[in-house]
Amino acid sequence: MKLKGAQIIWEALIREGVRVVFGYPGGAILPTYDALVQYPQIHHVLVRHEQGAAHMAEGYARASGQVGVCMATSGPGATNLVTGLADAIMDSVPIVAITGQVPTNLLGNDAFQETDVTGITQPITKHNYLVTDVHELPRIMKEAFYIAREGRPGPVLIDICKDVQNASTEFVYEEVEVKLPGFNPYFGISEEAVRAAAALINQSRRPLIIAGHGVQMANATQELRHLAEKAEIPVTTTLLGLGDIPESHPLALGMCGMHGEAHTNLAIQACDLLIGIGMRFDDRVTGRLDAFAPHAKIIHLELDPAEVGKNVKPTVALIGDCKESLQALIPLVEPARHREWLAEIAAWRRDGEERDILNAEVDELIPPYVMRQLWHSTQGQCIVVTDVGQHQMWEAQYFLHERPHQLITSGGLGTMGFAVPAAIGAQIAKPEALVWAVVGDGGFQMTMQELAVIVQEQLPVKIAIINNGFLGMVRQWQQLFYDKRYSHTPLLNPDFIKIAEAYDIPARRVTRREEVADAFAQANSHPGPFLLEFRVKEEVNVYPMVAPGAAVGDLIRRPKVVQGPSGVVPAW
């Protein structure tokens, strides 16, 4: 069967199981959009800015575990995808981006809307392709999906010249062989390493697990729990590892690192064995490297060999899929109890709880309260998509994550503007789920044009804007490290309620504590989208905090709740 390149793109996408494409048409991708009308089985979501398309594809992939697909034209269309690709490679999200390119005879000519897209995206994709010959197109489409999803997932970009979309070739797909001699992402498990790791665990008196995103991606949450319970090992997680273990589990400690609860970081500094599972010892987790976990031997379970020894040199490394590594490891681990160690951590935890801002009797509307109410109002059952900044950390601290893939957030890249489009992608992947986008007043304004997509696609996405009138996290750093010089962090905001109304999205402004529960109840029970704006107390800081470059044990604790004239007031 002879098909045009434009048709081959859609035929290949259908064969890869793609049902949804997030995109925006333009000159160099016109033939492909023209062919799209022949493929009603593809649901194309017209975005309002290509960055939105990339984040929606990410949200879709993060919520479903399937490869997300976005599409854009050449030049500015393609460059607008860049932030989403960079975000996807940092957080190992499988997406395939398809971009149009000027015709082959104009390549390198500075033609209208020509940009060296493969050049620009080389360091922020797992791999990319420039297609100049239609005969190569089926193989490249197949390879792209294979590379995006196999091994450590990541983004792949395919840049397709306009004349290639118009040229025809005999279309075969199933028979096309993927020949990638340099792409071997799987490694056999070393039995020697498994035995060595088990011996370390069996000897340890004060073991600790740090679980990361890899546990969820490898579908290894059951194995993680099994290991933790068998040898009674407490589990802290990275930001993207929230949901690896239910936070109601007695061995779950919560998130560690820069804004982790004090007891998690103190446990890292006091443990004699640290087991990193599906995580990469990011600087937000380790703080000052040479002072990190000073008494600990380290076991690192990781799929990507380049992450092993990059930041922290392990005593034993188990390279491979962490589900398989855990399955091999668990039978060799002896049942154990570590009551003293757990009691020590529990004491640190109690101190943190006493300082908890939620225990202070204040009337003001503070963000931690909003986050805890979000959790209450949804019985912890919703998918939460957070943006980047203070609200992201409060969500991590005060929403108690019970399931994998429940929290979708921009971890490695820290991309403001992520939440609204990613929530759209997540909602499309999980139409039955209750999806909440939690976003600051700054980040919301970076991608709020995608509200149009919520309406156009009739999605019941709920949005909570945590409006403190500041770029809150940057303001916090200015307060703590730049002598309170608030250089360009106060925001002059529009009326967010009117913006929602302009899109026909019902909205409500919340200014007092007493209204919060009711507002969430109203939004949750509304069948369509709903926007809540929380006018929160402006200058509240996220604590605890490990200052950048400090050792994780050397943390700024929550200020003690002190007695004031009108009862108990916190001293922040």
Partner: protein, 183 residues
């Protein structure tokens, strides 16, 4: 030698095998830049396998940095194999072409030096000669140092190319081969 972060730096020689496709060398070089690896020399050409190029590079770094370079290179889809041969017995050579200014008096001196170093003069004109030198980096450095007493007009060096000594099968390193034989 140490860098500003107090890391102990030394020279490492690494060989990488790449698919011979457009843009692959750019991916490799771009990776060195992106990861802040300091490359001393880089040399690429055909290997014995059609469609596979062979790249030798010398990187100045500490062990961890070089380990990272090897692992990150291996992650490139078009890189089929990477081997750090720094601590293995190997033949490592580079070539230089050096044009030196001469007159009637210095020509014979230079010919003598070239002779002692067992190198060749490959082009002669009235006022200059071109010397072809092949050898280890140290040997070429030493020749250049001597020749710099006569003005060097022009010079080009290829950077190191390398091959491990002994028999290395296509399917693995010498050590792996020996292990297989022993079993």
């Amino acid at each position: 030698m140490s860098d500003s972060n107090g890391r102990h730096l030394s020279k490492h020689t690494v060989i990488a095998w790449l698919e011979d496709k457009p843009g692959v060398l750019n991916r490799v070089v771009s990776l060195f830049r992106r990861r802040n690896f300091n490359i001393e020399s880089l040399s690429v050409g055909h290997s014995e396998t059609p469609g596979i190029s062979r790249l030798t590079f010398v990187v100045n770094g500490d062990d961890r940095m070089v380990e990272q370079a090897v692992k990150q290179l291996y992650k490139l889809v078009n890189v089929t194999r990477v081997e750090d041969i720094t601590h293995k017995p190997a033949v490592i050579r580079e070539m230089a072409l050096i044009r030196v200014k001469v007159d009637g008096q210095t020509r014979s001196e230079i010919m003598q030096i070239v002779d002692i170093y067992r190198q060749q003069i490959v082009d002669v004109s009235l006022d200059a000669v071109v010397i072809q030198a092949v050898g280890t980096e140290e040997r070429i450095n030493s020749l250049i140092e001597l020749l710099s007493n006569y003005p060097i007009l022009e010079m080009v060096r290829t950077g190191a190319v390398a091959m491990t000594r002994g028999h290395v099968g296509r399917n693995g390193s010498m050590a792996q081969q020996q292990r297989r034989t022993a079993l």
